[in-house]
Amino acid sequence: MGTVESLLTPTEEQEQGTGSKTMSALKELITLIKTNASSYMMYFALVVIMLVFQIWTGGKFFTAQNITNLFNQAAYVAVLAIGMTIILILKHIDLSCGYVAGLSGAVAAILMEKAGINVWLSMLIVLLMALAIGFYQGFLVTKMGIPAFITTLAGMFIFRGLLTRSLAKTGTIIVTDEAFKGMCQGYLPDIPGLHLGFHLVTMIIAVVAVLAFIWFQCRSRAHKRKYDFPVASTSIFVAGMFAVSAVILTAAWMLAINKGIPVSLCIVGVILAGYAFMLSKTKLGRHIYGIGGNDQAAELSGVDVKKVTMFAFCSMSVLAAVAGFLYTSRLSSATPTAGLAFEMDAIASSYIGGTAVSGGVGKVTNAIIGTFVIMSLTNGMNLLMIDISYQYIVKGIIFIIAVAFDVRSRKK
């Protein structure tokens, strides 16, 4: 009898001391991790991968220079992954985006360097070209009913051919325009005349970002509380915010003692913020999740499925063009091999970031985490001078483990 009673009243014991309070927080943390295993998986993977490289390279991974380099390396994949996430939520796929990126970089280089057109006008023309490509593929998928896999596989052939064709006479084109190169090689300017030993603007932006993050989190938590939605306990919540803030500030400090925030990071940040807002706060975003979750129900609920799908393909191609600019900018040149397997990294990023294989679920912010998983692997293995063949194998293994884990945890 006594045992039964003690089982029934565990709460009293819990409140007796602070020791048991930490115990209950720990318990909550464990259940939280268990129930949300798939959404924490990528953070866990990222941390493990980074630590492994840090040790293996003998401390070369977490240097100011390398972190800056990682951001610049990852930028074009991140931009592609944002577009790809939307395509994947809709249960489509875009295999052509890699070569659309490659072609866009090449055309931009030709316009600037060969035709002598102003850099901004060149980029505008290329963006319009990409939009037209998006319309073309979107048209085939929505109006002709050709599966996206086929449409974009064909596109992959076509744009690869166009890319090779466009650079056939000139070969690799060296880009000399400083503004263009600045996109993936430049840094935000600091306040002139300061000699603090670190980049002040970077730290100001980081602190503002952290404050904004905390404010948004608190507001959202207050809202959830107000409507009795389930929320994490205060200790877990505070711990989580500390962790995120620490990561932001550390990363910012690493950039600040180098040359500051890379322009590429700003470009990715702006695009990411726009797309994250669109997906979570606007009608278009709701419609995208609706179509992914149940396209027939969405259609009967008044969602214009074709229009939304068309948007997704157009946005993908335009983002591919931006990715092409970033890649070309980083290399300072447009080459016929640009675009090879870009779509693979983008798709892998999206899935590692928790986009559901069955569609309807996915976040662009998490896709970026996925990008960093993939690009940390590339970056770390490059530091270790591991042969590219092994790099592909390792990336493939990490990718399939991530997706297998996700599929399994969704079944439960």
């Binding site: 409507y227 606007t282 609706g290 149940n294």
Partner: protein, 509 residues
């Protein structure tokens, strides 16, 4: 253990996180009887059958399953099948592209050496088809058969596995009256051949017609077992046990009727299926007035759903060959559901999981998806307002969910249906089309949905109710149309309508 019982389930307890789905259930089935299992949705019928068939394997529940006097420990469906237990599910598990005989012997093919003996397969499948009185060529692809016939194929498949205990989960929920009657007859024949049948059903009329024994479950517990020969098995008595109260009136009465002008009218609508060229609607005309419930009755495949969809923006792109539609005195021509919704039409789908709801999204999402415009503040959705709206409907139409952040897929059928209704109420329609609004939901939830309908027409809305359940149409409508083979075959005022009259119109094309 006497030989009288083929199956005894003793003290079965099955828990899911947070819910006790089965709480000490006892369930005994006599050899060679038809045993009906009834109860509201969520009473635990399906869970009990899943325990029996090994879907919830041994060890995930407590209690004993005793088959022919032996305690069984099923680890999989294959284990229970090996002991002669087979389930015919509501959603059929056939391969539409394969032939009837391939389907029947799928998984236990007849072999001659290393190869399948197709000749023997066809010969044997003919015999099994005869047993279920299905007169079709076994070489036909299953997709050529209608749902009723497909179900018979499914039964033939079970028989071919030498099953002794056949479980039917809502077998008639998607069948028309004829096919239902046929199925019940076949169940009787199977019983006479010594096969024990368990039937889960919401259709009490069928239950009372066919059962030898009726077991009632409520909230995961056995309430009673009624013997058809000795106990009172009237529908009223069964309902009393199911809900724990007597429902004096299944259909709530409307006290005041104030029917207004014609709100919605369809004239001479004809349509064809683009793929097959089959005419699905022939010269269909009907109307509904403000504050009126109009029933659209007919057998399965009569074209009622097609008719509703053709006017609701034609999402499946039927080829409309003629016809005009008027809404609130204006001629309208909707090219997409979006346009139809904007002008005040709403369609509650018969297939809430298939094309009614986004199951992986929450109650709030599903409630507001059709009318997000109303929640937009500049360019973003005002989530405070949105949750307010969802909570309002949760309260008003009594959606049972802890919060509106609950995924719709986790709700019971009745509550899912209420979410569908909430979605359309929030789009503020003038005309609400309800397609099989109470299919597969329990008595209590049905009553609530009827009450909501009455409240809506009181406020002046027009309702078109499509339903296969005759008593429901007769109980709720002010006026009804009967369809058969794509045509309107009759119109009746409720005062003149009897089941016989309606059935006659529904059968006679």
């Amino acid at each position: 253990m006497s030989d009288e019982y083929i199956l005894e389930m003793r003290n079965i307890v099955k828990e899911f996180p947070g819910v006790k789905a089965l709480n000490d259930v006892n369930f005994k089935v006599r050899r060679g009887e038809i045993h009906c299992l009834v109860g509201e949705n969520g009473a635990g019928k399906s869970t009990l059958m899943k325990v029996l068939s090994g879907v919830w394997k041994y060890g995930t529940y407590t209690g004993d399953i005793v088959l022919d006097g032996e305690v069984q420990q099923f680890k999989s469906i294959a284990d229970s099948e090996a002991k002669g237990i087979a389930i015919i599910y509501q959603e059929l598990a056939l391969f539409p592209e394969l032939s009837v005989y391939e389907n029947i012997f799928m998984g236990h093919e007849i072999m001659k050496g290393k190869q399948i003996d197709w000749n023997e397969t066809i010969v044997q499948s003919k015999e099994y088809l005869k047993k279920v009185r299905l007169d079709v060529n076994p070489a036909w692809q299953v997709k050529r058969l209608n749902t009723g016939k497909q179900q018979l194929v499914e039964i033939a498949k079970a028989l071919s596995k030498n099953c002794r205990l056949l479980i039917f989960d809502e077998p008639t929920s998607s069948l028309n009256e004829d096919d239902s009657e046929n199925l019940l007859n076949i169940m009787r024949e199977l019983r006479d051949q010594g096969i024990t049948c368990i039937m889960i059903s919401h259709k009490l009329r069928e239950v009372t017609a066919i059962a030898d024994t009726i077991t009632v479950l409520r909230d995961g517990s056995t309430i009673c077992s009624l013997d058809a020969k000795t106990d009172d098995i009237s529908e009223a008595n069964i309902i009393k046990h199911m809900v724990g109260r007597t429902i004096d009136d299944i259909y709530p009465k409307r006290l005041e009727k104030n029917v207004g002008n014609v709100m919605f009218e369809v004239r001479n609508l004809s349509a064809e299926d683009r793929a097959t060229g089959r005419q699905i609607l022939k010269d269909v005309s009907f109307n509904v007035r403000a504050g009126e419930i109009v029933g659209l009755q007919g057998l399965m495949g009569a074209g009622r759903t097609e008719c509703a969809l053709a006017v609701f923006g034609n999402p499946y792109k039927y080829k409309i060959t003629s016809g005009d539609v008027w809404l609130d005195g204006e001629p309208v021509h909707f090219k997409t559901p979006k346009q139809a919704i904007k002008k005040g039409l709403a369609y509650v789908s018969e297939d809430r999981k298939g094309n009614g709801l986004v199951l992986i999204q929450d109650v709030r999402y599903n409630t507001t998806i059709s009318n997000l415009e109303e929640l937009i503040n500049k360019i973003s959705i005002d989530e405070n307002k949105e949750i307010g709206v969802a909570n309002k409907y949760k309260k008003e139409i009594n959606i049972k969910t802890p919060t509106v952040a609950q995924k719709v897929g986790n709700l019971s059928g009745g509550n899912q249906q209420k979410v569908q209704i909430a979605k359309w109420l929030f789009s503020h329609p003038k005309v609400l089309i309800l397609d099989e609004p109470t299919r597969g939901i329990d008595v209590g939830a049905k009553f609530e949905i009827y009450s909501i309908m009455n409240e809506l027409v009181k406020q002046g809305m027009s309702i078109i109710m499509i339903s296969s359940e005759l008593p429901e149409v007769l109980g709720m409508s002010d006026r009804l149309y009967v369809m058969s083979e794509g045509k309107i075959t009759g119109q009746l005022d409720i005062e003149d309508a009897t089941e016989e009259k309606v059935m006659k119109m529904a059968i006679n094309a």
